[in-house]
Amino acid sequence: VGGGTATRFRVLGADDAAARRTVEELCRRFLINPVIEDAEVSIESPRSLIEELPA
């Protein structure tokens, strides 16, 4: 049995690449345990995030 968690958050970054690096570092150090878990990072446009998340 496998379980999954979706974590969505806003990241302040100069561009998508910088934001991705930040999130991948977060995954590596904290959000997942690479021994037993995998992570997939996807970046949504700032506009859709602003519309969907509470301020």
């Binding site: 959000l31 021994v35 037993i36």
Partner: protein, 233 residues
């Protein structure tokens, strides 16, 4: 020579007093240490006890590894100091990278709370140094994420370096290779899922005592001697 054993208390730890009683019962001096402190008080060994540090949010041990005291625990371990992680403490040690591998959820997603037979398979660790290999100990277990897991190359290394210190006789949780406890390459850092501190009084099993006696008599005892010697100069 009294050996001082530091017991780290995280928010959500629940076995610190059991460890303290077990240590005191064998002549050691337990000292509770708060997770928020940035340094260790003078101690000869450190125990990370069982429980649910930081509520086990995210993953067991995932937040506890960032507690301020952990940097000091890591330095103590790298300097050869004895560090023992029990149950949740084992999970913290793997998250902190002080021991390899990880603890997955039990086979069948069942919480297990029972007493099991475990076999000492290596006396290379600070917890098993004076216990004969092959000794079978009745020890309580009490966990949901206790199935030890690691990549094949890590398992091969653990086996060849005799770092699997404790195995289940009858695997209760799906742990790889029946592993109940492992140690670091130097043997000074040990993690195990069973609770030897709960097997130290005459109401139940006394089989935890040889493990604590090993800790107090081994490198921790030597550290105590060196520390007291240094202080007297």
């Amino acid at each position: 020579m009294t050996v001082t054993v530091g017991i780290v208390v995280f928010p959500g730890s629940n076995c610190e007093f059991d460890v303290a009683e077990a240590v005191a019962g064998l002549g050691g001096e337990p000292r509770l240490l708060w997770h928020g402190d940035a340094s260790l008080a003078p101690v000869d060994a450190v125990v990370l006890p069982g429980g649910f540090a930081h509520g086990d949010y995210l993953r067991p041990g995932a937040i506890a590894r960032f507690s301020p005291i952990m940097a000091a625990v890591e330095r103590f371990a790298y300097d050869g100091g004895p560090v023992v992680g029990i149950c949740n403490g084992f999970q913290v040690l793997t998250e902190a990278g002080l021991l390899p591998g990880a603890l997955r959820q039990n086979r069948g997603l069942k919480f297990v709370c029972t007493t099991v037979k475990t076999r000492v398979d290596s006396s290379r660790s600070v917890l098993t140094g004076s216990v004969d290999v092959g000794t079978v100990l009745d020890l309580p277990i009490n966990h949901f994420s206790g199935a030890y897991s690691c990549p094949p190359d890590v398992l091969a290394e653990l086996r060849s370096e005799e770092r699997v210190v404790l195995r289940y006789v009858d695997n209760p949780n799906g742990s790889i290779d029946d592993i109940a406890g492992i140690c670091s390459r130097q043997g000074n850092v040990v993690g195990l899922m069973p609770h030897p501190e709960r097997a130290c009084d005459s109401l139940g099993s006394l089989d935890g005592q040889p493990l604590w006696a090993s800790l107090l008599a081994g490198p921790a005892g030597l550290l105590a001697e060196a520390r007291r010697g240094g202080n007297s100069e």
